[in-house]
Structures are given as C-alpha cells and as structure tokens.
C-alpha cells in the first residue's frame, strides 16, 4: 500500500513537472509570428506518417538509420510494457497483462527483450561513434560542452534503463522458476534467461534485485521524461508535429512577403488601396520576428549535424553551420522565455538573435542550395531563418555587402544584375 502511494506521488509529480516545462516550450514557440500551416491536412498527415513515423529521410545514412530504428522501435514498443508497469505500480498488481493476453503476452515480452538488447547495442555503438570514432558530424564549433554531454547523457540513460529492464526480467524469470511468492509463470525471456545465470540463487536476493530494478526503471523513465524539455532529445515528441507542419511548397519557392507586396503595389500604382497588415519590421532581427514554425524547428532539432555536413559553405571552411543557426535560435528563444518569466513582458535584455548569436558572416555565406533542408530527417528549415535575417539586414538596415548593393543597383537601373545597358539585351543575337 505504501509502495502504491509512493508510486502515485512520484508519477503525479513527474507528470506535473513535465507538463509545466513542456507548456513553457509551447508558450515560447507561440511567441513566434503566425504562419499558415493548416492547409492540405491530408498531405500533412501523409508527410508526418512518412517522415516522422516512417523515418523515411533517415535512410540516406543506412548505418545510423538502422541503429536509430532499433532505438525508435524500442522506444515506441517498449512503452506498452511501461503501461503495464504503471498499472502494476498503481494497483499493486504484478504483470497484470499476462492473464488477459494469454500466449500473446509471452510473445510481447519476448519481443521487448530482443528490442531492449538492440537498443542497448545501438546506444553503445552510438556512444562509440561520438566518443571513440569521433565522427566529424558530431563536432563543430556549436558542439560545445553541453551539447556533447547532452548526447552522451541520453545514450547512457537509455543503456541504464534497458539494463535495469533486462535485469528485472532476469530476476523475475528466476523467481518464476523457483515458484516463489506471487511470481507467476508469465512471459518469455529470450535475453534475460541468459542474464539470469549471473544472478544469485537466493529468492530473497532475487526479489530485492527484481524490485530495485523495477523502481529504478520506472523512476528512470519518469526522470528521463523530465529531462526531455532541457535536452535535444525533445525531438522524440516534436518530430511529429514538426513534420506535420512541414513546408509543402517546392523547396525553391521562397515566401513573398505580403507587407512588401502592399508597399510595392502602392509605389507602382498610387490608386492602390493596401490591405491592412499589422505593421512590423521586415525580416528577422530577433527570434520573435521569426514564425512559430521556425521556433518549433529549433526545439525539434536533435543536433545530428546532417545539415551542416552537407552544407557547401561549411564543407569549404566558411563560418556558416545550419545546425548552429537552429541551436542559436533555440537558445535565444529559451532565453527570451526565461526573461519573460523572470522580468515580465516589458523587459528588454538588449540582445538579439542577429549579432549576439548569429553573425552576419554566417548569414552571407549561404548559397540557398537547400542541401540542409533536404538532409534534415525531421524537415527543419534553417534556410528560412537565414533568408529572413538577410531580409532584416537588407531592408531595415541597408547593410548588405557592398558587392550585393551594386547588384541591387544594377537590377534596379539596368534590369540585370550586371552593369550592362538594358538596350543591349538582345545583342547576343547579332553576334554569330
């Protein structure tokens, strides 16, 4: 009874704390500007099913894709087991699903075990890729101490959870064989049956091991849940809405700013009556000038570095790293959110995404080639942020690089980006 009460308190606290922190992220995302992303729901569901649920974009890197698939399936499927653990914890039952599910239960537990082993294996390989093989993709100047540790913590936590899960099963299995107490014959244990050979023979010790692993596993899961809002691992949740709200138009198509259309039409036609559009700055100087989708992108990023590893600017040694654009955006909106909580609405910390986080040199190095958006397994769009920040620099500050200002002048005066007379445009046809 005390155990049940304790479990209830821990569960309630974990859920409360998580909702509070996830709510903060939601609030932060909604600090962004509105952007219409609710059209074509059928196509959106399809994109989500394919990209998030079906992991379709992971396949470009087959090794990582397979290992990630193990962990992903482990996460999704082993959660059925977590449901049972929750019910057992609340009602003091033991393996409550075993009776109603009958022989299916054995199959389920067996597959959980195999998956747990695969998760364990994948996490070990992933740790090795980061810390021993030191894959280039996981380094870079934005991969400072915290992002590196975050990645390792996640993998270590998962290894610990899976080990606890398997050890718990191993002890349970051994107790079942001893017909000890309430440990009824249930489940099949293709992995932990081997592990059980390492465990002591005494039923009392086995019960202590089984119980401690049970508690460690479930408290670990609840603690991990509460780690998510502070971690890149939040992608396991946001990947789904983020792919649902993907850009559906061709990658080459950039948005036409309606506020600019108003001004241009008014300039070209004095009789034009502009539609009412709320005034604001052109482009983005700070995160609150970005759209909520840009901010959701930022919180969805799991820092895998696929974007940066295919970025032509980054490959050739320029400062730009699309991953850094996303991480900076996330760190800045989190800072803005924290300021809001601490100092209220009217507080200004005199910092901006531009210059304080992202330098102009980074922004001007982009070739808008869309390699980053193509590479992202969860359809994050760093290019959209880059373009919006360029728009601020050009239209609000008139601070484009001199050579680009020349180009603008040529387009405006000569109808071409170079200094050729418009009247000479057909001269090519005269020279054979």
């Amino acid at each position: 009874m005390i155990a049940q009460l304790l479990f209830l308190i821990i569960l309630a606290a974990a859920i409360f704390l998580f909702s509070k922190n996830a709510g903060k992220i939601r609030r932060n995302i909604l600090l962004g500007k509105d952007t219409g992303r609710s059209d074509h729901p059928a196509e959106r569901w399809k994109t989500m099913a394919k990209v998030a649920l079906g992991q379709s974009k992971m396949t470009k890197r087959p090794v990582a894709a397979l290992l990630h698939l193990f962990i992903y399936m482990g996460f999704v499927i082993i959660n059925i087991e977590v449901l049972e653990i929750m019910i057992d914890g609340l009602f003091g039952s033991h393996r409550i699903f075993s009776k109603p599910l009958g022989s299916l239960y054995g199959l389920l537990i067996g597959s959980f075990e195999v998956l747990a082993l695969l998760v364990l294996f994948s996490c070990v390989v992933f740790l090795a890729r980061r810390n021993i093989l030191k894959l280039k993709r996981f380094s870079g100047k934005e991969m400072t101490k915290w992002p590196r540790s975050d990645a390792n913590y996640i993998l270590i936590i998962e290894i610990l959870l899976m080990s606890a899960f398997l050890t718990m099963n191993a002890a349970d299995y051994k107790l079942q064989q001893l017909h000890f107490g309430h440990y009824l014959q249930a489940g099949s244990f293709p992995v932990s049956a081997w592990l059980s050979l390492l465990l002591p023979a005494s039923p009392q010790s086995l019960e202590i091991i089984e119980r401690s692993c049970w508690w460690f596993h479930i408290i670990g899961i609840l603690a991990f849940l509460n780690y998510l809002p502070y971690s890149k691992h939040f992608h396991i949740l946001l990947a789904f809405p983020n792919t649902y709200y993907s850009k559906l138009t061709p990658k080459g198509q950039f948005s036409n700013m309606p506020s600019v259309t108003n001004e241009v039409k008014a300039m070209l036609d004095p009789a034009f009556v502009p539609e009412t559009i709320e005034p604001g700055r052109f482009g983005a100087k700070d995160v609150t000038d970005l759209t909520w989708k840009n901010l959701m992108d930022a919180y969805t990023c799991t820092e895998c570095g696929r974007c940066t590893s295919v970025c032509p600017a980054n490959i050739t040694g320029k400062l730009l790293s699309p991953r850094k654009i996303m991480m900076d955006t996330r760190d800045r909106i989190t800072e803005v959110g924290n300021n809001l909580d601490k100092h209220g609405k009217d507080y200004n910390d005199n910092k901006n995404l531009l210059d304080d986080y992202i330098s102009r040199e980074e922004l001007w190095a982009c070739t808008t080639c869309n390699a980053c958006t193509e590479a992202c397994p969860v359809n994050i769009d760093p290019l959209n942020i880059i373009t919006d920040m360029r728009r601020y620099i050009v239209m609000e500050e008139s601070q484009a690089p001199a050579s680009l200002n020349n180009m603008f002048g040529n387009v405006e005066n000569n109808s071409a980006p170079w200094k050729y007379a418009s009247a000479d445009r057909l001269n090519w046809a005269k020279t054979n």
Binding site: Q253, T316, T367, N370, R391, L404, F408, Y420, D424
Partner: protein, 273 residues
C-alpha cells in the same frame, strides 16, 4: 558531322523573333523563351542561349523572346533578402508578360525557372513554366529530336551536375539525365548527385559577391567530384553553374581533360545543329 541530312530551313539563321514583332503581326507564339540575364549578357552563357534557339528552330516550334523588354526576374535580389526589389521586378515583368498574353514559358536558367514558376503566381503571374531540359526531354520523347545527325558522344564519360534550383528546388532530376541517355555516351554519376548534389557555389546571390573567408572555393570542391568520377564532360543546366564549374576546372588546371557543356549545347551538337 553530317549536315547534309538537315534541311536548310531547319538550321537557325540567327534571327530571333521578339514578342513585340509577333504582336505587331497579330501573332502569339506557342512559347516564350525567357533568356535570362546570364543568357543575354554572359559570353559563355550566350552559347547556351543560341543552342536553345537552334533547337527551337529545328523542331519548328513557334517561339519568341522579350528582347529588351525582358528584365531580371528578381531572383538574386530575393535570395539576398531584398524582397522590395524582387517584387518590383516581378510585378513589372508580370505586367509585360500578361500584356502579351503569355501562356507558356521556357527558361534557359533554373533560377529564372524557379522564380517564374513558383514565386510569380501569387503576385498575379500564372504561366506554364518549363526549364529547357524539360523541353528537350519532351522533344526527345516526341521523336522530334534524334541524335543521329550530329557530333557523336559515343563512349565519352559524361556526368551531370544537378543545379540546386532544378533538383532539390523543384524535384527535376530526370529531364536533364534523359537528354544525356540518348547519346550512347558513358554516363557516370558523381558521388554527390541528385538530392545529395553539391551546390556549385553561385546560388543565393553568391554569384555577385566574394565568398566569405574559408579554406576552399565551393567550385573547386565540386569539380573534384567530377575529377573523381573521371568525367570528360560535365553537363550542366544552369548558366551560373557553368561559370562556377569552369572556374573549378581552371583552378584544377584540367582544361584539357574536362569540358563543361550545357545540356542544350550537347543536344544541339548531337543533332548537328
């Protein structure tokens, strides 16, 4: 070359019909050829423009250009963040295009193609826009372009460099390749191709500025892919890629080994035009 097979009237005589001339005669051409700034002014790209004219003339398609009435689509301004200038260009161009009742456009440049096709409709300019590689593919499929009369590319190692605004930008990967597949050449892919293709370095208005400090030119990085693929010809479909790829070839001092040719030039040559 076996020019005997081509009737004299199918060889382009250098005359380019303009929309204004056509309109004066009360005619509307089947298709508008949007030449683009590079195709108009860049000496190397002018060769691509002429090849497209040769092809259009050869298949007897009624076409015209805007000539001096054509103006930058605004693409480089837009990618550089100058949305004002882009929309000024777009709205002015749309007025011209709509005045001529243009229905269908073929472009010689993926950037013009992308802008006209995707970014003009919202501003009041809706046309059927295709890139010249799509037109070539279509003409090959219809049997109007064969490759029997011209220069033979048999056995040549050719690789196609995906232009970002055709490939990733608009999912056009097959049209340029199918134009090469009829050549009986040895087609090879670079390690980074199709959706994984590496940019030439010109996009996003980089063409008009010095690159940021780094350890290498993007064009060099790209041409190394072509060298690795042992390509003799790098086929491109974009005048800006053309400039960049040629820079890369020069930088690696491979002018003798590697030629950079546009799909339109290759097609024109293969047809003896």
């Amino acid at each position: 070359m076996n020019e005997v097979n081509i009737a004299a009237d199918k060889i382009w005589n250098g005359v380019v019909p303009t929309m204004a001339e056509m309109a004066a005669e009360g005619k509307i051409p089947e298709i508008l050829f949007w030449v683009g700034c590079a195709g108009s002014f860049d000496e190397r790209a002018q060769q691509i423009t002429k090849s497209i004219c040769k092809i259009l003339h050869y298949v007897g398609m009624s076409y015209a250009v805007l000539g001096t009435e054509e103006s930058c689509t605004g693409d480089p301004a837009k990618r550089a963040g100058n949305e004002f200038l882009f929309q000024m260009q777009a709205i002015t161009n749309i007025e011209v295009l709509n005045a001529y009742k243009v229905k269908k456009i073929v472009t010689g440049c993926p950037h013009c193609f992308n802008t006209l096709k995707n970014e003009y409709p919202q501003l009041g300019g809706s046309y059927e826009v295709i890139h010249h590689t799509q037109l070539i593919q279509q003409l090959i499929d219809e049997g109007k372009l064969k490759t029997q009369d011209g220069e033979s590319f048999k056995g040549k190692r050719i690789t196609y460099h995906d232009a970002c605004y055709l490939g990733r930008g608009n999912q056009i990967y097959e049209a340029p390749r199918s134009a090469l597949q009829v050549l009986d050449a040895e087609l090879v892919e670079m390690k980074r191709c199709r959706s994984n293709g590496l940019c030439c370095g010109a996009g996003g208005a980089q063409m008009f500025k010095e690159p940021e400090p780094g350890k290498k030119e993007i064009s060099t990085e790209r041409i190394e892919d072509a060298i690795q693929a042992k390509a003799q010809i790098v086929a491109s479909a974009c005048p800006f890629c053309m400039t960049m790829l040629r820079d890369g070839v020069k930088h690696k001092e491979k002018e003798q080994e590697i030629q950079v040719l546009d799909i339109a030039e290759i097609t024109a040559r293969a047809n003896g035009l």
